[in-house]
Amino acid sequence: MSFQIKSSGDTYDVIIVGSGAGGGMASKILSEAGLSVAVIEAGGDFDPAKEEDRTQLRPPWESPRRGAGTQIRPFGDFDAAIGGWEIDGEPYTRKGDSEFDWFRSRMVGGRTNHWGRISLRFGPNDFKRASIDGLGDDWPIGYDDVKPYYDKVDKLIGVYGTKEGIYNEPDGFFLPPPKPRLHEIYLKKGTTAASIPMIPSRLSILTRPINKERGACFFCRQCNRACQVYADFSAGTCLVHPAMKQGKVDLYTHSMVRKVTSDDSGKATGVSFVNVKDMKEYKLKSNVVVLGASACETSRIMLNSKSKMHPNGIGNSSGVLGHYLHDSTGASRSGIIPDMMGRERYNEDGTGGMHVYTPWWLDNKKLDFARGYHIEYGGGMGQPSYGAGGNMDSMRKYITDEFGQPSPNGGYGVGLKKDIRQIYGSTVGMSGRGESVPRFDNYCEIDPTVVDKFGIPVLRFNYKWTDQEINQAKHMQDTFEEILTGAGAQLLGTKPGADTMYGLLAPGRIIHEVGTARMGNDPKTSVLNSNSQAHDCKNLFVVDAGSFVSQADKNPTWTILALSWRTSDFIVSELKKKNI
């Protein structure tokens, strides 16, 4: 790989830790400004255009497990993201009966190799939630501060969608959206019956090209495998590698950062990291350190960066570092649409995600929970691979013969085979992804008793959902049933009740963890200022979702990209002014 040892005498202008959305964007903007940049990545390099890295367009029989998930690829054997919920030799712990599952990707591009490409702007309300409902805190910045950067991100990265004029779902510079699929049109009947909006989704997939470097989507529906023509966004293909091609960017792969080093004045001087391959420690120096390792990994590095000037970890004089950790809420439900059984066969792929979605549509003042959620939809004639034809022990009864007689559950033989063919492509599902209320009491900290295989102290999670999130999940379940019923679907399974917190998934499961190094105007209650610069260390910046004050009912990536660009501009300007 591209690991190279730098002589310790060299000093970079900037060291960036992490090559995902935040680190990737920073590497592009800072190198374009002429700065020398080192990008430090814990995993290996990855380029889906290289044949040896390609999993796209591979049939399941090129996997002995037919595409089933594994520990390091829990979302399937062909999923691009390498890492998973549990990584050998890199543990994390939970305190008491806390729940938190932490998904990590160890590779160039990080978790942008996995995500659903849902690219939603935060709206004006999303930056000022405390002013609206009195819970949590407002961001020190507002939509108008970020809008110019959202605009630039739209044009640089590309996102399809439609201008809708919804106040808190700001429009952008959209590529044309793909037409909805059959099940999505059926589901639209359900949302219309329930008076719930459903609009074309906003995904960072190029339905038309935006430059000569990236191809347009050719509709294989496999964005999660990473695209060999770079038609979808991932930080490696769209930011880090282009930055390396054009600017002074050195990529250090297989390099696990241990701490940010600092001098006697408390100023950051670089990073110390362990080379995963030779298990030796290395140090690099820089004038500026930018952390984009993911909200939790970044706070781990900062907490572990103790020094005389930073006894609680660098940037942590407030004691807030690691706190206000929050993830999106998630719950789901599925159904089966009898009118779609035994339907005509045709290529139903489209892009690698949903073509329609439901933005939050209600006023929380009239509800028993404070924050909203959006709804994502699934279904269609997906590629039969591991799991195909499954669950006939409970689902076969939904198939009726020409006399309206239901098939018996389970069974075997030619009849079972025919029923599986009949039911294929008729199931639909939906998931709510909601905003949780950030709490000081939900946090990650250093576990004083556990280190990883590199000898670096690990994170311990403390996290509990409250009635806010539980009531929201209950509302989701009621809504899902209403939509499914309105779409003519039969509900599958039983409705999750209070005993399961209405199907609310464990914190961390939605992989939107944010807030651990939040920004604010008061150094006593926040880690970063409004430019994502550490209050306590002027040449230390955070460009991942650690800076988020609140997470909105949106996916965080587009905001990470916009804020990273904004912070990078600030770094360039401060360097020019010799303020750092």
Partner: protein, 234 residues
Amino acid sequence: MNRRENLKLLFTGTVGTGLFLTGCSPEEKALPENALLSGGTIGGRTEEEKQRDQALLSNTFFTDEERKKLSTLVDIIMPKDDDSPAATEIGVVDFIEFMMKDQPENQTRMRGGLMWLDFEADEKFGKTFNDLSQSEVIQIVDEVAWPDTAKPEYEGGVRWFNALRNLTCSGYFSTEAGWKYMGYVGNKPNAWDGVPQEVMDKHGLQLEEKYLQHYLKMEDRGRIAEWDTDGNLT
């Protein structure tokens, strides 16, 4: 569809833009289906993954007797018919063998279920399972194959058979023959263009009028997008 056809489609699709594939070998051939288990997963593997796949493939989980029982069962679950082969013809037993090693937490249940077949065969017929006639086999299978009507004492057997049914279907439909039977025609570059009109008509559905002008037009896929200052595509 093999790799070569994939690439051909990619290059000859209607999009004449920015498509580039560095480092691809158009001469690479798709693996024949029966060669599946000679190697691990193809594409983007880490060293750890390669080693793990090789280790799993070099171990054997099922005994010959167990394989024989499984072969009988998977062909009962997915038999040959006019349109499609039997499960054993397309490597379903090999697939299950691999999955036992890949997901070892399922080993005990599977082994226990296969053992139970002999207990049941002995009690009912005084023979081992592998010595039963087809009709005797079916009598045992029927005890556990119908979850809603099975006797309570067979609950454990029902769960085991549910898992076996799921595995068999996974191994069956994730093959070229399985795709053909299912009628799956996706994952072809540049082939998708929304729901065919005749399908829309048959289901009595229409696209929303207000979005018609906004949806992607296939002929635009070669043109680099540009916007006016209000975000309208020009």
